[in-house]
Point group: C2
Chain length 220, copies 2
């Protein structure tokens, strides 16, 4: 956090939820930690007046998100695009005694703003490195960087983190007192992403040894 930054994002009409307000936070460090724990977002935009939501990769650098796609992709053709970028991690399935109190433990971040196309080549390269490292930390330094032609085929978008909120639920079910004696198991089933053993590419991917950063990713 730089000296000019508040520890919280400002609350706006758009980031004030109409329900479950107790689950919402504007804390900058919490928002960063949720964003940094993932690499896949759902990018929403409006096309011909209708909503479109597409999964895509993202990376955070300071107070900006970077997204990328083909430079031919519909959403990325203009220089500016009003977007909503949402990142969600599921942490558990919450089983209550009542159907009504079933829930999900999760952490999510919603970012509203206007994405801009990155035209500076050095910044585009930095963002692409961050995108590769967002998926597997340490990988950007261990692969061939994009050629000029590849760079031209890639659209990089940047989005300021200014209108941002986090929402999270943790803990057990919230059964009503009168339901506590009902004869149903209740509690939480924890969920996490797990990695299987790395599968080397059949075209000779294992000629180089499995790198340490990947070994660490899989906990091997």
């Amino acid at each position: 956090m730089s000296a000019t930054e508040s520890p919280s994002y400002p609350r706006t009409d758009r980031t004030t939820p109409t329900r479950a307000r107790e689950r919402v936070s504007y804390d900058r460090a919490l928002v960063h930690s949720i964003l940094d724990a993932g690499y896949l977002c759902h990018l929403g935009f409006v096309a011909e007046g209708r909503p479109v939501v597409l999964p895509t990769l993202y990376a955070r650098l300071g107070e900006r998100l970077y997204l990328h796609g083909s430079s031919g992709a519909r959403a990325l053709r203009g220089s500016e695009l009003p977007v909503c970028v949402t990142v969600t991690h599921v942490d558990g399935l919450v089983l209550a005694r009542s159907a009504f109190h079933h829930s999900i433990n999760y952490r999510s971040v919603v970012v509203h703003g206007t994405a801009r196309r990155v035209t500076d080549e050095a910044l585009a390269r930095t963002a692409l490195d961050a995108l590769v490292d967002s998926v597997v930390a340490g990988r950007a330094a261990d692969c061939r960087p994009a050629s000029a032609k590849e760079l031209a085929a890639t659209a990089v978008l940047e989005l300021d983190l200014t209108e941002v909120s986090a929402k999270a639920r943790a803990g057990g079910p919230n059964d009503a007192p009168e339901d506590l004696d009902l004869p149903h198991w209740s509690g939480v089933l924890p969920v996490r992403a797990a990695y299987g053993p790395p599968l080397a590419a059949e075209d000779g991917g294992s000629r180089a040894p499995l790198p340490d950063y990947l070994r660490q990713s899989v906990g091997a």
Copy 2:
């Protein structure tokens, strides 16, 4: 599939991608299998001309998706809402020798349409059971059904599966022939959702034994 249904959804302008067309499918059985493998979607809608994307639960019943939320939630106040519902499963991280060919193995479905509020009580109950079972199969029959008051507090939306596409990537990296001798490990790191041991609620959740359907979910 009923006798009147084609094995594929019709392709429309909106479900024709501008890139990676070889990854797109309109196959009904594939779409169903991707939808049935998940319970969390990202719901996109337009509010005051700007996109909003929120994570929410869904369930499929035949050729309809059901979503739910608080009846006070902003998005669910009207009787009809143009939406885009996207479901994404990540299956693997694809590490190529070149930064450019890094990718994700995934399966996703995008549904465009207009969601309607369910007003029929019997249908709302059926949909809520499906939503609980979507998260943990078998659970709807093992909890207290919603009371009239709880039902009134819950908004159930239905969305026809008419304008639908699936997109998927599988397999190893697509490195260019001239990159095959670069000294970088390449291949796929498989990803899946894993369940931890169930945590009984501290208010007596373990008084009933852990049910078989939950034991099966966790592979215990």
